[in-house]
Every structure is written in structure tokens, then in C-alpha cells.
Symmetry: D3
Subunit: 292 residues, 6 copies
């Protein structure tokens, strides 16, 4: 009897909380995070949620305090945690690019390559990864833990290793990137013992399917159009080759309806072309989940 | 001529405001609540909105200040208001379970059953319902009105009657539930005279159809998939029996498209099974309104 | 080679920011506005965004600091800017009515018509348009620039010219409208030189298609229903005449599926009628974009 | 041995919290209220603090849950609580006038005197006091409890009874005062049994001295000046007769220093006169406590 | 009879509001500004307060809407208002230096002197003063009104004229100061007619004395010490020459008490010296008002 | 020439920022911290301020990035920093007790003594001090770094080491203290080289005198009273023996004025006794600085 079994999962506390709630909502779960609570409720009695900072999540998954959790690849590496990485997730359209940890120096610094930091001091929140990075390159760089607002410290030490998505906050602080240390994406991870338990593994895998489907859906849209049969070929040629559109007959036999799921960045490119090719009644609609 | 007729409805002020705006939006209305206004605008000249606390809504509907309003069953009972209950509404996925008013005592209290509170004092916001509850059971319990943060008072008096959805805030305050006093869901209510006026009744009933449709849609999703005709039976068997999926033919005659509306909690269970049964191109999309 | 070409567009800072982000999201772009940044990121390397107040946007488009931008017709007029108006946009369901700049006086004022303000003082943020308005009517009214909270000043001077959408904030301040000065809707505007550059013009026009499609979609929904062939006519008659619904055959040949895109305000009216005409399985779903 | 004895006092939660903390600080206590805590810490081991709404404070003092507490005379009356009123306190310069509960109607109402409300409905938070007020006058007025924002309801019922300090929020809502129902000031109250216990009574009385001294000091200032002996009489005549200034000799025997404690509203009046009378080096300084 | 006479004064709305309330409090008035109100209450029936932005204050004083008001010299100049400047006020220790409007360019700009901006565009909130500045120097610079966040525009036009107190926000935006346009301090101003009315003039002058006294007191402290008569000379020599300390005899005839009012910036310098010169029991206390 | 010399000091960022600004203000400095700035301005050209988290302050002082700084003893120890501790400071009345880092376990835990944690896991922000603590006692306890909200983790690991001032937040989380690990107070620290530089040392020492004087003054008040000469002895006996009150003669020779500086906690005790002993005109006033 599995009715009373429960999977304990870690929800990231902080800047990722809102998009995690949204991800679970698309996946079909009502995850309810109160502002000061650490035990969000969820409408699945087989799940129990606890909030942790992304920075420490993998340690609690490794220790077995959690069966599974969501965190970033960067912090798994920083903690050196031995966990099973179930799948990668892309969290939002805005951050679908991987986050990058970069080594940066003040614009006016003489350092042009990482070798120029030899003998210097670097501040970062990602201490272990950074130390390893310099050691592997045979460089003697003192790496100090920075409690937040690292970019402000770039002028007080020799350089910093900081997270950047677009590079714009580095620019705003007049910093220059010298190298990329680590590229990171969100991950759904599991404790190794938990993953060996058949019931837990199935629960983890189902959750992975739903979360991945929800994650995929963020960057995609549904597109529907009507087109005269004689123009169908032209229209189909505009659609990316790898897609298999659903073509359905309409009451008016001269026309068919074409429906396809595609990347939003593609959709916004081809819509004008489709119009020119004779498509009409084009609509684009949002998706909760896409499972190919 | 009905052109100048207006239905006056009460919108709940407070924690329900945001989800009410969302409910009206799905129902097809742009309800616009400014942060300090008490007269939200709405894009239907036949509607006039006024905000009241859910606690006092039913009194103003009973008195005829309002023709109709949204509030909870608990406060209708507390006020003992004589109003017409047009329909029940479920407000959100997260709170689709009814809210429960429970009698709770400190974990360390000796009270195990309600009889143990005889001669004691209980604090609550729901004074009348609580008094009646004890009276019906022949118990002599002094019931005092509590101005908020009732759970903090549990250790100062003998027990409290407090609202709970998941029981987690009771737990956080180390309280133990002894009994459930009342279970409550949101209601759309109408003034009895207003409901006897033909024009108002029709307006109220139309609104009820739209609000219920919107309310239903919150817990549901649309699911679409393609499947080879030979696998259709297998796929249909996975879908809950009571659903009647829309099956449409595709250009490729070996395949059909299946579309169905179902509960999100069901959908998240069967998606992996559908995949295994040969379904492809599964997408899940959100709904504004569902009218069966 | 156009790969490195960039179009610089102005995003309105202030009350329109959130709905602009939403508009771009529906249009298919991830526009990312950080709370204090003036250079929002966007996932299209051919676009570069800068934030300006709607009030000054058209001046920077005219000067060529920006190639294009989003602002209101009122501020284009106020600045007297010579720009190309690419298209009109409706920003949200709640504000799909044009915003109106009205001349208002205290309820108790003796002024009944604009002539009664001759020789008086009027406060407004829209100084130039207001001055021109009075001059054209041969009236001598001193028009003073008001730094915000103009409605409070109505009792200190003789009248104000203020923006209103529903008239409710005027009412709350006990003001009475005497005349409408200007009606305004959001506009997508372009610098004249930029619009003459073929690459920029194409980029601007594509953006216009997507933004207009997204803007249209806000007030519209998709509606789908099943109906027996014998009832089809009845159902079709209920739908607004100008719509061309997509009718598709179902597996059960006695039934067809009808799908149509229509205004939300229409949909909420006809849903009960459709039900009475024999339609079943009615669902309403949200749209990102509608291109007729 | 009294070392382990403790007096339990109630601190008002809500709009009075900040000024209560300030009052205790002037009185010499570090009262530390965390944002969500209900048990503020205080640097006196003989005191234990609990937070309650002013509205319910007197009930908990009467019941003995608290030994003493700070609340308003209005809520003592509303609850009909049998408590010992230790002393009156004035809470701040800004609110040194008593708060008034007034019966108000819309400006445009026909009601001119309270008799005109006979047979009508009045909304208020102060239900019991209001009911008694109408009963004593032989008027049949239905008095309904209002959950906040009472002034908005004035146009939905016949009148309201609402708290006002300056009358300005009534004005902003276009209401007109018909009568004053109750005038109220803050009170330090004690449970009757607690007050009969000698140790508690002494503790309560000491606290009362300190709180009153701190409360007095808010509206007062210290004033110091130098004056030639020959002008002393003139200067003394300007000072309010009932004050006994401290006159001290200076090194320069022709001059004396005059120091006096007086009301801030008096001080601001006489400072220019003192200057004209020959006083120099006038300084005004703040006070924590004044015990005459 | 002057009892019903009222002086109408303008209180600056915005960043100066809090320090104005503090200034009035030190001056002896309880000025009570609610968050959304425009008519703050004050505990002097002869005063009536209205809030305006500092930017427009002088215009309403000039027009007679207000009898007097507090604003900055910069905005009096910008509006070209003909008002009586009653006195200068320094608002706080932190901002006791005058605010400076400076012409700034990006660090990397080629412009080194104001002549280099000839033919260019400058953005500023202080349009009129800036125009006049360039005209007086015979330079042709287009001066555009900037709606806030001017420093962000420095790279979009040729330069900006912006307010700075410490220069640090210019630095943070990598701007370089080329010239100072205007130096400004807060002023208490009066309408010319109002100032000619004897009752109003006396009220204005009294207010000026109190506000100036309060304003002076912010940068000053009281210092008291005991010293043996034989060391008195040494101690007195350390005190700034222009001060006349109050020396009073003590019970112990060998000692005297010295009391003096002095600038905080001086006090913090000489305290260690006083200690070395034999002073003991040194205390420093805050002041509400200082009238020399 | 020292005119251009500058001392660089670190200001703690976070919960201590407000009280540090207040401390500097009492000390005589206008320290101006903008919400997002890291370089607060100060009205002393010989000082330059930078903000750091208290947790990392001592590292930057040790490295010489800063000449001096304010932080807690706990973080000096945690970082193992070799710095000169100039003086101890007490930061506020409310927190004049040292902060304590305690080892705590859930109330229901079996652990009663630290030995019971042998072999277990402990979460804390103070990793190094905690590790050393267990090592010195020969216990094998895995100490993990906790990113905030440590008290929530107490039930996930075996125990926590957390900061507490009153023990109340531990209580709220149902934790029990097993031992005190470290007691900590704020410190003013200096870099060793900087302290060897004569100019910097003098600047640091002067600052220390002022900050200590300001720090002392928080817990103290000035008390002044008048008393008849014949009662003087009685009054003096009530005052703590170690104080030397300033007694000054009054114009009325039968009376003297007594003035004394004393602890607020003492003052609130003796005020009633002084009254009984014949003292009159008792006033208590706040102090900025006390240098004995």
C-alpha cells in the first residue's frame, strides 16, 4: 500500500520562488507558499514541500533530509554534492539562457587575462568552484567568500567571480569580463537512496515529466490558422521542417485548419510570412505543458 | 427599456479581492479595483460594484443596499442573513478545499473533547456560530469576540475557534484541533426582492453562469493529443469514463486528434499513461471558462 | 548583412510598464525590466530597449535618440512631436476605452461652460494642448503646469484639465466635467528617418504586426463548442454575423465542432444563448495573439 | 522575596504601538516590539508584556489574563469592562486633544439633528456605546457593526458613528457632524484583584508615575535663557504665573540664568517677547519626563 | 479681533516632507501629515497648511493661493516668482551644505568647458534657469525638460543639469561636472500682499523666528562640564572665541559648571581637548531651538 | 600637512545600519546612507565610509582595505582576523545586553547535554567558531553552513547554533538551549598598520572617544531637581554613591538645584523615592554624549 507514502521535495527560497510556483501550477499542482512559511502546502498528499535556499539545497538532498529538490547546477558543484540529476529545467522565457559565473575586473584594471590575477585576491559567493578553477590553472589566487553585493567589491580586491545573465549589471558597475568560470541551469535532483526506492523513483520520474513539460511550454505557443487547400503547401513550407502540424478538415471543403506547437521566438518570425502565404484567422495561444 | 437598469453587487475586500478580480476576468469582465477605492469600475454598464468586507457582505445584501454579492457561507451563517444563495463558487486551485472553522486548544491542554471546555472561555471571530454550536451541545462556554490573531490567544483562554485551510498555521502555533465547527465555501448571494425582479433575476442568473464557468475552469485544463486510429481505443480507455472527448479527423487519415477537458489533478496523473499508450504531440492548455 | 543591425525602442516607464511587458510577452518577446534599470533586456538581438516616461518619449523619438517607441497620443500632441504613427494599440481590457483629458471644476463652482473660465487660471500637466484649446476658442485662460495631484488643486484655481478613464476619481474629489479636451490612445511611433531605412522599416512593421496582434488578443477569447448538425444553423445565427467560425467534423458524424474567436464582451453575452440552442462542451480559452 | 514576581501588562497593537514604544522609552524602559511578535521584550524582569488590540484590551484586563494594560476610554466603555483606571495619559503632541466619536451624515442628508435618524440605520465600530446613546434618548435606531472603513458606508445607511481627531477625514468624505457621542483619552488600567495585591499595586503605581511623567513631557519643553538682573522682573512677568522658574547665579554677577519647564504651545508664543524683554542665549531643549 | 484670522502656508510634498514635520516639531508645532492627505493638521488654529511640490510652491505663493510657504531658492528662480523671501533655513545636519545644480557630461565626453556644449542638447528639470545660464554666456544650447532620472539621459544627449549634494550620484553614473549653475538653500517665502497685512506679517515673522531657531538647533548641541576654578581659564581658551559660556557656581566652591551652545562639528573636535584641560562630567545634549 | 589625509572606515550594512547612523549622529557626525549606496557620505573630509556586512568587516580591516570598522566580536572570531580592537560599544538600550550564540535543539529532542550531539549534524552561520567549540570538547559533530533561517532547520538536523538576544525567537520555534557558545558585543576595530600610523591612530582614538561617549549616552539620562537645603542630604543619599551630582545655588537661597547623569534603569527606580524625599520640579532629559 503506497497511500501513505510521501516524497519530500525542496523548493528554492528567494528569487526563484515565484517562478517555481508558476512552474508547478503549469505542471498541474497548486503549490501554496505563504510569505513567512517554510512548509508550503501542495494539493498532492504524496508530496511534502520544504523551502531551502538554492545555495544549500543539494546538501540537504545529499544528506537525505530531502528526497528531491530544485536548485542550480552551480550550487550542486559548489557544494560538491553527490546527488542524482533527474533532469534540466528551463525556468522562464526571460532566463532561458544559462546563467554564467564570470571572472570580472574593473574596466580600468591592468588585468587582461586570468594569469594577470596571479597572486591577487578575488571575492565571490562561489568560493569552492572558483578555487578549483584557479588551482587547475596553476594560479595562486586568494579566493574570499563575499556576503552579497560582490560587484561593489571589485575595486577593493583584484577581481570578482559573479553571476550574470545579460552582463548588464557588470556594465553598470563598470566591470569587464575576463573569463567564464561556470555556466549553470536549473536542475531537478534526487537523493541517491530515494532514487533507488521504486515508489519514490516512479514519483520522481512522473514529477520530472510534468515539470519538464511545464518548463518546455514556457518558451512555446500554440498556433492555429485556416488556409485554402491550394495554399497549404506554401504555408507548410514556412513552418520549421521538424514540426508535424495537425491538419484538420473544415466544413468548407476548400479549406483546412492547421495547428502547430512551436517556439515563441520562431512564431514571432513567421507570422507575417504565413499571412503573406494566404493564411487567415491566425491565432496564437498559451500552453501549460508540452510533451512531444 | 432596460438600458438604464443597474445591478448593484458587492465585491469582497481583503484577502479575496485579487482572486475575485481574476474570477471576473475569466468570466469576461474587466473589474478594476484601485488600491484605496471602494467603487471598482467594471466594463458592463449594467453592473455597479461596491466593496465590503466578506464578514459584513450578507447584511448589506439582506438589507437591499446590494442586489447581490460574493461572500463565504461562514459569514452568511454568522450574520444569520436571510438571502438567496444563487450558487457556490470555488475560488482557486489552491483553496478549492472548503475552509474549515475548527475548535482548537494548545497541544499541552488537558482538553481532549469539547465537553472538557464546559465552563471555559473561547475566543473567536465567529461568535454567533460558535455560541450556537456550544448551546446545541448543552455546554456552558463563554464565547468572546477576538479582534484578529486569534491563534495567539489560545494560551490565554481555554480554546479558540479559528479558520484553517491546511491546519498548518495551527501547527505552527502548537495548537491541536478538537472539533470542526463549520465548513465553508464562497457563495454568490442575492437579495430576495432583487431576485424577484425579472430583469435583475436574469442578470443575476447570467452572471452566475459566467462566474461558475470561470470558477470551474480554474481547476481544469484542456488536453489535446494525436493518436493512430489503431491506438485510439487504448487512449480512450485511459480517459475518465464520464468525459466525452472531441475526436476529429486529421489530414493523415491514419491519425485522429483527441481533445478533452479534464481536472488538472487527473491530467497530471494520466499524461504519462497516455504517452505509453501511443499518444504523441500532447499539449495542455489553460481555460477561462468551462460550461459542460 | 543585417545581423548586427539594431532597432532602438523606447519602453514607457511608470504606470504603463507592467502592461507593456505583458504586451511584449503576448507578442512573443521576453522583455525583462529590472526595478531600477533603464535598459531592459529583450531576447531579440535586433532590439535594444530604453525606458523613458511616456511624457517625454515622443521627443526622443523625434530627435532620433530612439528609432521607435510606445507612448500616448496625448503626449505626442503635448510635445508637438513630428513622428510617424505606426499604429494604435489598446493596452488592456480594463482600459480599452480611450483615456480622456477633461476640463473639470468643483461641483459647487459657478462655471457651467468653458466661457465661464475666461480670465481665470487652470492647472494641468498638459499645458500646451490646454493653452491651444483655450486660444482656439478665443478665451483668455492662464494655464499653469501642475506637478502631479492636479485634482487637489481644483479648489485653489478656477479649474483643472486632468486625465480620466472612468470619471470616478473626479467624482471622489467632487469635481464636475465641463468639456473634453482630448481623447487619447496608446501609439507605436517611429522616427521619420528610421522609418525611411528599409531594414528598420521592416523591423518596425513586423513589430507592429506582433504588437497589434497581441493588443487585439487582450479583448478577445477563443470559444469552442460541440453541436449536433441539426442545431448548427441555430448556433451559427447566434454568433455575430461578421465572424467566420471554423467548423470541423467529429468522429461522431452527427456532431460538429465549432470554434470562433470573438470579443470577450460578446462572448459573455451569448454563452447562455448558445447553451439554450443546444451547444454543449462550451469552453472559453485565452489568446496571446489574434491576426485576422 | 519579590524577586520572581511579575506584572503582566497589555501593550496596544496597531496604530498606537509606535507611540507606546516611544512612551516607554521616555519612561526609561527599552520595550522591543518585533514586527510579528506578540510578546515584546522589556528590560525589566518584573514586567511581562503581551500585545492586544486596544479594542479588546480591557476585557483581558478584567478577566485577569492581564494585570494592567494601556487602552482608550472608548473601548473600556464599549466593552463595559469593570477595571481600575489608574491614570489618564496623553499620547503625543499631535493627538493631545481627546479623540471624539461623532455621529455624522452625508453633507446632503436631510438629517439635521439626531431625532431625524429615528427609525434609521447607523453603522459603527462602537456598537454598544452607540446603542446606549440612542436608547437614552428614546430613539429607535438600528446600530450595525461595521468592519472598518465606516466613512464609506455613510451613504449606504443613514449615518455613521466614527472616530475623528481633527474632523478632516470626515470632510474629505463629505460628511457632516451632527453630535458628539463620546470623547476618549488613553488610559492605564488595572485588574481589580491585581490592584489589591500590595506588590502589584506598588509596581502599577510606580509605572503610572513614570508613564505619566513621560506623557506630560511630550507636550513640554525646557527653556533656558540668560538675562541681566535689571531685566529679570520683566522677563519673569512674561512667563506664565503658575510656573516657578529656577534662577541661578552666573559667574558674571550682573546676569542670572533662568530655566523653566513649560508647554510647547506656550513657549512658541513667548519666545519673541522674551527676546524683546532683554533675554539672550535662549535655548529650548526636549524632555523625557516631567514630574512636577 | 484677530481670533478668526488664519495664515495659509504651503508645506513641501515629497522628499522634504519628513524633515519639514521635524522642523515644525522642534519649532513647537504638531504638524500632522497623513500619507495621502493634502491638508495636514496643525495645532495652531491661526495656521492652515496645504501641501504642494517644492517645484510649484512659489507660484502659488505669488498668486496668493498661499500666504507663505517653504521651498528652495532654485524653484523660486525657475518659476521667476515675485515673492518676499522671509528667511533662509538649513534643513538638516546632513544637508546643511547648499544643494548645487551642476552641468555634467559623461566622463568619456570630449566636452571640457561649457563652450564645448555650443550647438548641443542638454536635459534638465530646471529648464528656465539653465536656458538663461546659456543665453547669458552667448551659447546656443537646446535645453529640454526632463521628467526625472535625468542622470540616465546624460549619454543620450550632450549633457545634463542636475541637482547634487555630494556629487556621489553623478560619480555612480560616471558623469563629470563641468560647471555649477546654481547653488540653492531652503527658503521661507511670503506673498507680497500678505506680508503687507500687519496681522499676517507679525504671524509670518513669529513663525520665521521659531523656524530659524529650530533650523539653527539642528547643527548645534548643548555642552556642559565641570571644572576646577584653577583650570577654568584653560578650558575657556579651548572654546571658540565668539561664544559666551554660562558659568555657574557649584556647591563645592572650588568648582564651577560651564555650559555652552556650539556647533556639533566644533564640539566633536574640542571634547578631547577639554578632557585634557581638566574638564570632567562632560555631557552633550540635543536642542530644539537656539535663538542667540 | 595632514589636510588631505583620510581614514577609511567600514559601516555595517544590514540590521545594524540604522543604529550606526544614530550612533554617529549622537557622536556629532552626519552620516548619510542612501538605500542602495555603498559609499555613505559623512560631513568630515577626513573620513571615508564604505559599507560591508558585519560578517565580513574584520577581513577587510585585516587586509587593509579599511583602516577601521564597526562589527561584532562574533564575526572577528569567526573570521579569525588579526585586528586591533580599539573599544567596545553598546549599540542601543534595547540590545545593551551582549548577543549570545547558543546551541539549541528541538524541545522534544533527547539531547540534554552537548555530549548527546556527538556524531550528529549542526547547522549554523558561525561555522568556524562552532567547529572549534566542538573540537575543544573532543566531540565529533559535523558543522554545516546555514544560509539564513537557521531555526527552521533545527528539526532537520540534530541542532543549531544561532544568535539570540532574549531567547524569544528560539521559544517561538520550540527550541531548547543546551549551551552558550559565544557572547558578543559590537567593537570598533582597526587595521594594525593603520593603527601604527600616528595621524591615523589619533583620528581613530578621537573617533573612539566620541563613539564611546555616544554609546554610553544611550543608556543614560540627565536628571535635574530642586530641593530645599534642609532636604538635600536625604536626596543625595538616594542617588547612587558613585555619582557626583552638580549642586548649584538658586536665587532663592533656601533651595538648591541638583543635576546628575545616571543610568535610565536607575533613574526609573529612584524618581518616586526622590519625590518622597522632598524633591520637586524633577525633569529627565536625553543625552547625546557622556564622557565621565
Amino acid at each position: 500500500m503506497n497511500e501513505n507514502r510521501v516524497l519530500r521535495i525542496g523548493i528554492p527560497k528567494g528569487s526563484l520562488t515565484d517562478s517555481t510556483v508558476d512552474l508547478f501550477s503549469r505542471a498541474g499542482f497548486a503549490l501554496n507558499v505563504s510569505r513567512r512559511g517554510y512548509y508550503p502546502s501542495i494539493d498532492d498528499p504524496e508530496l511534502e514541500c520544504i523551502m531551502f535556499r538554492a545555495q544549500e539545497m543539494s546538501r540537504y538532498v545529499e544528506d537525505g533530509v530531502l528526497d528531491a529538490g530544485l536548485t542550480g547546477y552551480d550550487w550542486i558543484r559548489e557544494n560538491g554534492s553527490d546527488v542524482h540529476q533527474v533532469c534540466e529545467l528551463s525556468y522562464s522565457k526571460a532566463t532561458s539562457r544559462p546563467a554564467r559565473w564570470v571572472l570580472a575586473v574593473p574596466i580600468e584594471s591592468k588585468a587582461q587575462a586570468i594569469e594577470d590575477l596571479d597572486g591577487g585576491v578575488v571575492a565571490t559567493e562561489l568560493v569552492n568552484v572558483t578555487r578549483q578553477y584557479f588551482e587547475e590553472r596553476g594560479l595562486n589566487v586568494k579566493t574570499e567568500f563575499s556576503w552579497g553585493t560582490t560587484e561593489v567589491k571589485a575595486r577593493l580586491v583584484d577581481g570578482i567571480v559573479e553571476l550574470t545573465e545579460t552582463g548588464s549589471s557588470l556594465l553598470a558597475n563598470n566591470l569587464r569580463i575576463i573569463d567564464e568560470i561556470l555556466s549553470s541551469t536549473p536542475r531537478f535532483i534526487a537523493n541517491r537512496q530515494a532514487y533507488d526506492d521504486p515508489w519514490k523513483r516512479e514519483k520522481i520520474e512522473s514529477l520530472a515529466v510534468l515539470l519538464r513539460g511545464a518548463s518546455e511550454a514556457r518558451a512555446k505557443v500554440g498556433l492555429k490558422l485556416n488556409v485554402a487547400r491550394r495554399n497549404l503547401k506554401k504555408v507548410l513550407k514556412i513552418l520549421p521542417a521538424e514540426l508535424s502540424p495537425t491538419i484538420s478538415s473544415l466544413a468548407d471543403e476548400h479549406f483546412v485548419a492547421v495547428e502547430v506547437i512551436l517556439e515563441a521566438v520562431v512564431e514571432r518570425k513567421i507570422v507575417p510570412e504565413l499571412q503573406r502565404a494566404g493564411a487567415s484567422g491566425i491565432i496564437v495561444y498559451p500552453l501549460n505543458k508540452v510533451i512531444p
